[in-house]
Amino acid sequence: MSRIKNKFQYLRSKNQKALIAYVMTGFPSEKDTLSAVRGLVKGGADIIELGMPFSDPLADGPVIQNAGFQALQKGMNFSKFLALVKKIRKETDIPLVLMTYTNILYSHGYEKFISTVKRAGIDGLILPDMSINESGDFLQAAKKNKMDAIFLISPNTSPDRIRKISNASSGFLYLVSVFGTTGGQQQFQDYTVHAIKNAKKILHGKIPLGVGFGVSNPDQARFIIKSGADAIIVGSAFLRLMESTPSEKIEHKIGQFTASLKKATITE
């Protein structure tokens, strides 16, 4: 069974929901990414998403865009990414999900890319611009390498399409909570709650539902979980915190913030 599936099963037995945390590799530096990951693990994150920067991240808001841009400027690349994943894998067995854009995989070749990152310790892949209509070769390579393919749905995705996408997905299904790009939202509107409830009804417990884009504090996390999500996904808020924290304090600060979010996933 995959690390991700295992994790969700474990959390269910403990009556907990999952906290999925995103960091951009190489931002502000590779060393800081490692410190942040340590903080995430200590603070109780359940799954870690590692962003691999792409030059044209069209689904991302300003915070992740900027983080990716800076990481690339500082020379983040595929071999450094692999080295970082291997380092992380030596320290922890936490499920690791790689989030990047289709072209990064396409340019290496789906099969070659997926088998390489799998060997390094990646358990799942999220590609915001990979539509299921184009996913034939990608899915074949993912299946062959026992890599979880985590697809996204949106509040305007039709029930029929949610079914199709969830059938193609493994690990969990990623609901984009808002109309917009990644990054902080002030307040969720009714349509987000409706989208969560609707997706849960359609999924019928077949695959966990993670909700992200704009979840940035414990209150929002609680709200999203109360609406029915199996996992909350937090990204930009971690990057903002890393940006404003000196390197030596990143592990501690990220740990504290993670713990405050994790609390929200424990239902009494």
Binding site: N103, H108, M130, I165, F179, T181
Partner: protein, 400 residues
């Protein structure tokens, strides 16, 4: 070889729809509307009306006698898209999509622009059709194409300078897509080139095909045959695909001219089909300028409108099918052609179109006088006089 309306939006392996899920309902809605109206008599009549009465179609096919003499070979005809309202072929597409958006009851129009020509054409269509336009433009492009920024503002559209990434056309597209994701219900994304997710490449091709259709009819009248060769510049490739598509089944040689910048070997260019490799960007699978890890490269061209690391997927298909020969003309040759056409014919071409002119002069030399070449003069060059001035003064300085 004509692909018509491609199933699943695929031109061979190219094209498709690589987009965030939020946009899927939007492109499906767009495709449905396009299929409903593209052959609708009422829609076609209204588009025809605007193209003739508002934009000034048909455009002349002008025999450039002085340029022909200068080259000393085949006759060179110019398809005068520069004479259209707004000064470029872009209006063919913005009127078509604008009328479609209106039927889809979308009031807010967003667009991207490189040189500003598509932005201006969008602003015009929005004003004429009573819609609100907002245009994303790379900050670097707003600086080198100030006149067009001013024109867009005059025409009532809002210009958003984009300071992300390379601050050129590709970043303007990224930002327009982000806006579209955020305002997907209310907003129509009026893409300016034959790029992006299906159905944009086919829809833009269809709206621009009026260029090639007119060329064919005009040449049959003037020369009693289809042209021996056609030449068009290729950035995203909308004027080129509009020129080529209606002629694909004719006995016509076709040449697409990319921006060679400072030379392909220098790495500073925008010649995607010549120097690129396959990849996924802006919703499509196509040739791209990228590094070996899939990061999109910074491009360069003296003409902002060709400064794009991707290309329309149908061009990728036509390249691999060897139906069109793609080649490049560098900055220096383009600027020379800009000056040449101005002096020889009294026509100031857009720097984009100047690439096609330079190439046509080159191939005309090696063709018999009995043959004829049609060059699509996609736009006029008033917008470029400052840029050419800067280029010339910089190069004179470098020589000293």
């Amino acid at each position: 070889m004509k692909l018509g309306y491609p199933k699943n939006g695929k031109f061979g392996e190219f094209g498709g729809r690589y987009i965030p899920e939020t946009l899927v309902p939007a492109v499906e809605e767009l495709e449905e509307a396009y299929l409903k109206y593209k052959d609708d008599a009422e829609f076609k009549k209204e588009l025809r009306y605007y193209l003739t009465q508002y934009a000034g179609r048909p455009t002349p096919l002008y025999l450039a006698e002085n340029l022909t003499k200068f080259a000393g070979g085949a006759k060179i005809y110019l398809k005068r898209e520069d004479l259209l309202h707004g000064g470029a072929h872009k209006i063919n597409n913005t009127l078509g999509q604008g009328l479609l958006a209106k039927r889809m009851k979308k009031k807010r129009i967003i667009a991207e622009t490189g040189a500003g020509q598509h932005g201006v054409a969008t602003a015009m269509a929005c004003a004429a059709l009573g819609m609100n336009g907002e245009v994303y433009m790379g900050y670097k492009d707003t600086q080198r194409q100030k006149l067009n920024v001013f024109r867009m503002n005059l025409l009532g559209s809002k210009v958003h300078p984009v300071k992300e990434g390379t601050q050129t056309l590709k970043d303007a597209i990224n930002e327009a897509i982000r806006d579209w994701i955020t305002n997907v219900k209310s907003t129509y994304y009026l893409l300016g080139s034959a790029v992006g997710p299906h159905p944009y490449p086919v829809m833009v091709r269809d709206f621009q095909s009026v260029i090639g259709e007119e060329i064919l009819a005009q040449m049959k009248k003037l020369e009693k045959k289809s042209p021996d060769s056609v030449v068009a510049c290729v950035g995203g490739g909308s004027n080129a695909i509009g020129t080529f598509y209606p002629l694909i089944d004719e006995d016509t040689k076709m040449f697409g001219v990319e921006a060679g910048g400072e030379g392909i070997k220098s790495g500073h260019h925008s010649a995607t089909l010549l120097g690129g490799s396959k990849g996924v960007l802006h919703g499509m699978l196509t040739y791209l300028l990228q590094d070996k890890e899939g990061q999109i490269s910074e491009t360069h061209s003296v003409s902002a409108g060709l400064d794009y690391p991707g290309v329309g997927p149908e061009h990728s298909y036509l390249k691999d099918a060897k139906r069109v020969k793609y080649d490049a003309v560098n900055d220096k040759e383009a600027v020379e052609a800009f000056l040449l056409l101005s002096k020889q014919e009294g026509i100031i071409p857009a720097l984009e179109s100047a690439h096609a002119i330079a190439y046509a002069v080159k191939i005309a030399r090696n063709m018999p006088k009995s043959e004829s070449i049609v060059v699509t003069l996609s736009g006029r060059g008033d917008k470029d006089v400052e840029e050419v001035g800067r280029y010339l003064s910089k190069n004179v300085k470098n020589k000293k």
